[in-house]
Amino acid sequence: MTSNSAILLKGIEKSYKLYHSPLARFKEALHPRKKKYFEDFYALKDINLEIPKGETWGIIGLNGSGKSTLLKIICGVIQADCGTMQVVGRIAALLELGSGFNQEYTGRQNVFFSGALADVSRSEMEKRFPEIEAFAEIGDFIDQPVKNYSSGMLMRLAFAVAVHVSPDILIVDEALAVGDARFQHKCMKKIKSFKGRSTLLLVTHDMNAVLTLCDHAVWLHEGSLIETGNPKEIVDRYTQAFYEGGPPETSIKTEDNLLVPPLPSVAKKAVTVKVEDTAASFGRGGVKIDQIALFSKERGPIEAVYGGEAVGFHLWLESLGDIKNPVVGFLVKNRLGIEIFGFNNISLRTELPPLRVGENYLVEFEFVWPLIAKDNYSISIAVADGNLESLVMHHWIHDVLTVEVLSLQEYQIGLVGVEQVQIELKLLDAEISFLN
């Protein structure tokens, strides 16, 4: 272990033994010759990681990929079956909401108890208490039993304690998802102040947090470490694999002993969404939209898109009747159903040639994805016949595709981002401005 790594994991494995009863587990634990009484379920397989001091790492993966198990092993809450682990320094962990808090005790009592758990002395905690209280912003509730707290308050207090016991390693498991946007931002700021001083380990489904906070990303899938590396690359490949339904089976073993899935090529048959006839669609049926695909010019088929990225959006049409003046378009809505942007060939002042019965067509839109707030958006698509005055809808499908929009900006105000903004502060000389 080099002197500047905070966490070193070698060949960590954790199998959850599926015992038929607690008795079997008990017998095995005490068996003199270690007889086995279980069937293995591998939660973690051969995990090798070295996290240097002061870095921020993000762990991503689907539910059940072993992220939380890994964190619990690093925290020492559960023990790995084999492998070696070295952790240097004091850990503060936010594994679950208010973990370690006693429901019957007041916030104040729990703060001091958490300090004792983290091995911080009473006098030291007394010094830090005002800061913790101020950070948590729960006001008079600090002297109320924790059971009366809302989940947001509990989270705020737990977070405030964890960051104020000056841990060498701070571990946060999806905890940032709670709290309003302003508090989340405050947490982010606090976490950032840790960068360089403490080692940080985040588990999150929020790709933006990984992109904006982390120096390194780790991708876990079904207990195996798929890849570690630059957050943007990992997030791209992860979201793409997610879209394709899991990481590619064929993977290359590199010298680092990391599994690196091959880069997908755009030339491959585009990953598309087959459009089924569902209740969420309507129209006359003269044209049918068979499938659609969204892809990045650089990265290929995608489910997550960056603001400012050049993308293509394709629609495959099957004409069941003659369409004289086809109108094809789509609409992007945010989670609240507010229409954010969209276009069709009329709005683009482009006339499309008539569609003939029985033929198949491909409509290609190409554009730069606007700088909209990071969130999930849905795309609705439509094909109609006519013009703006009289329009016959042939096929309209609501929310056919969900797109996660990512942003490389970590903080954006409002629904829309703006490019090339300049801000400048000028000192106005009172005399001159008066003369002018």
């Binding site: 008795l23 008990f26 925290c75 809450v77 679950e96 370690g100 005790y105 108890f113 009473r122």
Partner: protein, 268 residues
Amino acid sequence: MPRNFFLDFIKLILSRRYLIWELIKREVAAQYIGSRLGFIWTIINPLVLILIFWFVFGFGLKAKPLNDIPFVIWLTAGMAAWFNFSEIWTRATTIIVANPHLVKKVRFPTSILPVVTVGAALVSHIVFLGLLIILLWSYHIPLTFWVIQALYYYVAMVVLVLGLSWLTASVNVFFRDTGQIVQLLLQIGFWGTPIFWDINIMPPIVQAVLKFNPIYYIVHGYRDSFIYGIPFWLHWRWGLYFWSVTALILLTGTLVFRRLRPHFADVL
């Protein structure tokens, strides 16, 4: 290896004494949370019990004094040791399952939990011993220098109960029946140990067998220290036997605890 466990354990207790102290405070406070009289209950309960003894055996049954010592005093001295032992063992057996949030959610040295029980039970023990001393004083029985010897017997009892607690607390994580079994053993132990009755009413063979019960060594020792002023080395053979049994229990307890501990978070 077990030697490492003990050494590490003592280091652990010393280094985490602030945490242990906080946990003891919690444990004591938890008993009185929401009650009006709070801590006063710690005094009321043993006081009423001793008053009942005094009334029943002093006036009602007119129990005969043993070696010129009033029965109620003889009983209270033995009872003090037994109550403390049974309180610790009962609580410690369930203390791991009672604190799943500490086992599963945070980094926490589980092995100190029985120590916390010992510390929390010390409060009521001291109250009980205080009442015993008042009782001695009221009967004009002088306290001797040998009272200090009770400390030796207390430590002996703590070592024994820690061994038992590590064993039953860890097994209880897997089988919740353990708590019930401990209750049953304590019931049998209470009547099987010469606490309420004098061992001399038994035939010599039975007396010899009864001395195999390690708790009786403690009960007897408390009486020796508070009442009779008999030094413990006068029955050194018995002491040797007690420490052998205690060492065996402690070894078993720590071995089982160490083996089962990695599974606690998974089973709870």
